[in-house]
């Protein structure tokens, strides 16, 4: 790793290590973010050849950049076809892969260090999911996702593995074994929480929660998790369970697990990013639900007609600018639509490319394979 990159990583790590998380736009250190983002962009412009050419094609170069908001975001789809790394291939220490799609291609995030990734996961989770946790204190976590050993390519499993190691009590664990929800083991754990009265943070994929709820219905069971328990769901359904809107999912969770909606939150993250965003409900109880991120990451809603930042409140694709992505590209355009609100944003769903408009279907897979 070059000296310049090492200095950048060190400065970002230092920022992550600080425990200052000012609330609200005005208090956020935009100048610090801007300076680091522009330096990191310059580094990536130079060291990730496809990205550099992409930016030049758009007339963007480090010396002409006026703000981090002008950094061209790479669409997530590009991670499926293009090697986006700023380091030699043999320096790769970890590759995370996205979930499979109908077309079969999977996006890849290559990393030459896990230091930033690990450093950023814990404070972000602690702030948004376990905000009342004292320094050094641990919490009981039950994870409805495979362990990192079972799913070594999954950034989600990796994240949960890190969280269990850093934040969890010994009676925490994973509730997905061999790719299936371990219903009996999970129910056993939930009942033991119900019995001993200590709160639980139940985290996992959205579809795993659906499977759990379906299992509870099938067994005509309901659990009343102790007060202070919370649920964090993430990752969407990916066609692996029935799909239900978030508000209905949360209502079912409240009904079957006894966790009120005020303690249920969504984590917004993706393989292509090192940082995660979370619903604000536990960090700022009583305030409107919105997505908040750590100080070293920013979300920007884009006007798709111009490529510039959309006006506040207007709907557009969400781009994430994440300083943790030092080895790949820091600016990523997601396939989600959102709207900027207050100090955060709302996710309005995946670009409904499949919205029916004529008797054709938008975003249908066009060439070479059957539509899903």
């Amino acid at each position: 790793m070059s000296d310049a990159r090492e200095r950048l990583d060190a400065e970002i790590l230092a920022w992550i290590a600080e425990d200052e998380w000012p609330a609200g736009d005005a208090a956020r250190d935009d100048a610090r973010f801007d300076a680091l983002a522009r330096r990191l962009f310059a580094w990536q412009f130079e060291h990730c050849a496809p990205y550099g050419r992409f930016c030049r094609g758009r007339g963007v170069a480090p010396e002409r950049l006026r703000s981090w908001r002008e950094i061209p975001p790479v669409p997530t789809g590009a991670f499926k076809e293009i090697d986006l790394r700023c380091f030699p291939e043999d320096a790769t220490v970890q590759t995370f892969l996205t979930s499979g799609t109908a077309a079969g291609a999977r996006g890849a995030l290559h990393l030459d260090t896990l230091a930033l990734y690990h450093a950023s996961v814990v404070p972000s989770f602690r702030r948004h999911v376990l905000p009342e946790l004292s320094p050094g204190e641990r919490a009981r976590l039950w994870i409805l996702a495979p362990s990192p050993e079972e799913a070594p390519d999954s950034s989600l499993s990796h994240m949960f593995g890190v969280l269990l190691g850093e934040l969890a009590t010994p009676d925490s664990g994973f509730g997905v074994i061999d790719g299936e929800l371990a219903v009996d083991a999970t129910l056993e754990r939930l009942v033991s929480c119900e019995d001993d009265g200590a709160p639980l943070a139940l985290c996992g994929t959205s579809f795993a929660f659906v499977h759990l709820l379906d299992a509870l219905v099938a067994r005509e069971r309901s659990i009343e998790l102790p007060p202070g328990s919370r649920v964090m769901e993430t990752g969407g359904f990916k066609g692996r369970s029935r799909e239900i809107p978030a508000h209905l999912l949360y209502a079912e969770i409240e009904q079957r697990l006894g966790v009120p909606e005020s303690h249920i939150l969504n984590q917004y993250g993706m393989t292509e990013l090192g940082s995660q965003f979370h619903d604000s409900v536990l960090r700022f109880p009583g305030e409107p639900r919105r997505k908040l991120g750590p100080p070293w990451a920013r979300a920007m809603v884009i006007d798709p007609e111009t490529g510039a930042e959309a006006k506040r409140g207007e709907v557009g694709p969400i781009a994430i600018f994440d300083l943790v992505n030092t080895g790949s590209v820091l600016a990523v355009q997601t396939a989600d639509l959102g709207r900027a609100v207050e100090d955060g944003f709302e996710v309005l769903g995946r670009e409904p490319g499949a919205e029916e408009r004529g008797c054709a279907i938008a975003a249908d897979e066009l060439l070479g394979s059957e539509a899903p």
Partner: protein, 427 residues
């Protein structure tokens, strides 16, 4: 709207149908022919109303709607309808008189409409009426206009026949209303694969169900259309096919295959098509689109830019904003079709490669527009028909399907009929 109201409307239609069936079938047919003549006349009040009302309802520009209607309905006359009826069911007397091969319409037909293109709605409402089966149409969310105007036009020519058409409007996810709607004896449904699957799950025999899933079309230029004036003419024609209805119909080409051993031919065609789409934008402006659709266009452009930046032979030709896009691809990998005047130009070295590239899409291909294949055209058309393509036509005419086109590869009217065989005593 409540399910009980839908039940009541179906009952009323059923009664109106009884009255209608006391009249000779040829009389109904004659009225429907007048209706078709009315729709093919640009000066008719329904055409004028449609041109007025469709743009604000769908987002299409007025210019695009007027041009689209003119080209689509030009040959959709009463005579054309009568010709199709004759070809499909023979004499309308089969609906009236005893005979060996009798047919009858169903007591009621529910027509589930989809999309924002008016012509399919017109035909799908008229087809059951040919058989004197009253129609309850559910308007598509994106086109609440056309079915009501069609109903008005029918009532204008014949009040009794007009009483046999009704239009309902309820959200597609209203399960109770949908169940009531689908209680008709015959159902004709158009929609996405998900919609069709949902309808199939609710309609059991002996009720008749006819479905039309989503389709796509493509264009292909052969060696004789990729150079000189022929290339310019062909690209202008493809631009017409793309621009009309803003690529929202199943007859809109989403890709242009360039069949040539010349490795540079596709790039030149892509540039020419881009010029043609740019010129088209001034005469038929692309309509307004929602942020989601615009986001899909911008994302696909960015992904293509990234492939180009990674050293692939990919090029992006695009307007300011999202009005039109041409992507020169370098392979036949599966890629999304964001529509709204977004075309991928795909090079293939030879005709056999074209057939191979299209084969995986056989279930969803509606039409293929071709040009420049010379003496090979007939063989190519045969091969495309074997793939399941229901229409092969010259470039520039995709949006002008003849009334006789076997949409979905099948008849329009005959599948909506019940047949009855009269056997004479033997000996």
């Amino acid at each position: 709207m409540k399910p009980a109201e839908i039940d009541a409307r179906l009952s009323a239609l059923s009664e109106a149908g009884e009255t209608l069936r006391r009249r000779p079938a040829h009389e109904t047919l004659s009225v429907l022919a007048q209706v078709m003549d009315g729709w093919s006349d640009a000066r008719s009040p329904w055409r004028r109303d449609l041109a007025e009302q469709l743009p604000p309802a769908t987002g299409f520009s007025r210019e695009t709607v007027e041009a689209g209607l003119e080209r689509a309905l030009d040959g959709w006359t009463g005579a054309a309808l009568l010709g199709r009826v004759e070809r499909e069911i023979g004499s309308p007397e089969r609906l009236d008189t005893p005979g060996e091969q009798m047919i009858a319409g169903f007591e009621t037909t529910a027509v589930l409409l989809a999309g924002s293109i008016p012509m399919p709605s017109l035909l799908e409402i008229i087809a059951p009426l040919v058989l004197r089966s009253p129609v309850l149409a559910k308007a598509a969310a994106r086109d609440p206009v056309t079915p009501r105007l069609v109903a008005d036009s029918i009532a204008h020519f014949d009040a009794g026949l007009g009483a046999c058409v009704d239009v309902v409007d309820f959200p597609g996810d209203d399960a109770a209303c949908m169940q009531a709607f689908l209680s008709a004896e015959c159902i004709s449904a158009t929609g996405s694969d998900e919609t069709i699957a949902s309808v199939r799950a609710r309609v059991a025999p002996p009720r008749r169900l006819l479905v039309a899933g989503h389709r796509r079309s493509v264009a292909a230029l052969g060696p004789e259309a990729v150079a000189g004036d022929a290339r310019v003419r062909a690209c202008e024609a493809v631009a017409v096919d793309v621009a009309l209805w803003d690529q929202q119909g199943c007859l809109s080409p989403v890709a242009l295959y360039v069949v040539s051993p010349d490795g540079d031919a596709a790039a030149v065609v892509a540039a020419t098509l881009a010029e043609a789409l740019d010129a088209t934008e001034s005469s038929w402006p692309r309509g307004s689109i929602d942020p989601a659709a615009a986001a899909a266009v911008s994302r696909e452009r960015a992904e293509a830019e990234m492939r180009a930046a990674a050293g692939r032979s990919v090029r992006v030709f695009a307007s300011e904003g999202t009005a039109w896009t041409v992507i020169l691809e370098d392979d036949t990998s599966p890629r999304p079709a964001p529509l709204h005047r977004f075309v991928r130009v795909v090079p293939v070295a030879e005709e056999a490669a074209l057939r191979s590239a299209l084969a995986p899409h056989r279930r969803h291909l509606a039409a293929v527009a071709i040009d420049g294949f010379g003496a090979e055209s007939a063989a190519l058309a045969r091969a495309l028909a074997d793939l399941g393509v229901s229409r092969i036509c010259p470039v520039g005419s995709l949006q002008s399907p003849p009334l006789d086109w076997p949409h979905e590869g099948r008849d329009l009217i005959h599948p909506l009929a019940r047949g009855a065989l009269l056997e004479r005593p033997r000996g």
